[in-house]
Amino acid sequence: MTRVTTTWATHGTTSDALGALAAEGATGALSGERGIVYLSAGRVVHVESAFTPDLGALLTRSGAVPPDGWWDAVDRGGTQHRVGHRLVDSGRLAAGALEVCHLGALFDAAYFVLAHDTRARRFRPGAVHWLGPVRSVPVDVVVRESGRRRELLDRIWPDPAVDTLPLARVPGTDSDELPGRRGRTLAQVDGVRTAAEIASALACRTYHTLVELRRLAADGLVRAAPPAAPPLPPGPEPRAVAWDDPDTALLRRLRDALEAL
């Protein structure tokens, strides 16, 4: 099925490389600077990025699936690349809910991979994600939507550093009358956490969190923390939320690396 292809490597950006792979109907994993795009027969089936919480984090933190249930599905379905199917077959999640959540995570991660559209690093032909088939999206739709999101975010506040750096409150600002989600988002800004960590803590989609964070930045309430932050940042309640589950992104990368051996 899988043909070895090299034309992707001639393109200067990840989005152009994806376009070339889509035209060839390629299957495999394309690594960019900020994440990995999984293709099947030229369509995007999954995207992951360390800058967004993955599907497991979204499902377990929102309470939609208990952590035990998620890890059970990963254990039983991971080696056959059928984790998504296991979740649905075991009755833990409706197929529609899984698809909606999966698409959310896919476009969230794609935004990060394609907003920083540098040359793709590597293509692993035939590589399949352990989640298994859920939904697929044409490459051009993913590229177009990522660009549109970047424009929407830049229109609110044109500072992409908010997306990736630790965030801090601007001292001496008043934040009393903020509407629901923006107030909850601001409460998570502690000088240490990044947008991805805040999204994960709120069990909220990363793009929605980015919209709120850029609005907070535009209002002068939040800014990207300086890179050389002091060892004890002056956040109001550092680590107020218990961080009791394993680092899923790290475990996922370990698993991928082991499977690739």
């Binding site: 929102s62 809910a97 509407p179 069990a203």
Partner: protein, 124 residues
């Protein structure tokens, strides 16, 4: 269990007068799934436009200090009803179902009831 495709199909097949349906993310304006519509009714455009309706209403409620949540929004045209139903979901997933109904054939109360049932299968 129903997946996204079958949920959308169910909207068109089980709701009297339904001619088009879309599941839309109102933070980005993107349609996650669409069904029906056709040449004379571009659902992608309708999805993006109705995102502005939802956002505008949410903003108005913020200004008014209303803590309530929107269940649905009904737009009545002379020959069509457009129904916007916000999915609840934990953590507020920012999605709505957009349903176009033929006013001559639709039963609004029934449509609302059925949409609520279909929506349950998509909520996380």
């Amino acid at each position: 269990m129903a997946n996204l495709e079958t949920s959308l199909k169910e909207c068109l097949s089980s709701i009297d007068g339904a001619t088009a349906v879309a599941l839309v993310d109102y933070t980005s304006g993107m349609a996650l799934g669409t069904l029906g519509g056709g040449k004379d009714f571009n659902l992608e455009v309708a999805a993006a436009g109705n995102t502005d309706v939802v956002r505008s209403k949410l903003r108005t409620m913020e200004h008014l200090g209303l803590k309530d949540e929107i269940e649905d929004i009904l737009i009545t045209l002379s020959s069509q009803y457009h129904m916007i139903r916000l999915l609840k979901g934990r953590g507020g997933n920012g999605l709505f179902l957009y349903l176009v109904l033929d006013a001559g054939r639709a039963n609004l109360a029934m449509a609302r009831h059925q949409l609520r049932r279909i929506e349950n299968e998509l909520e996380v």
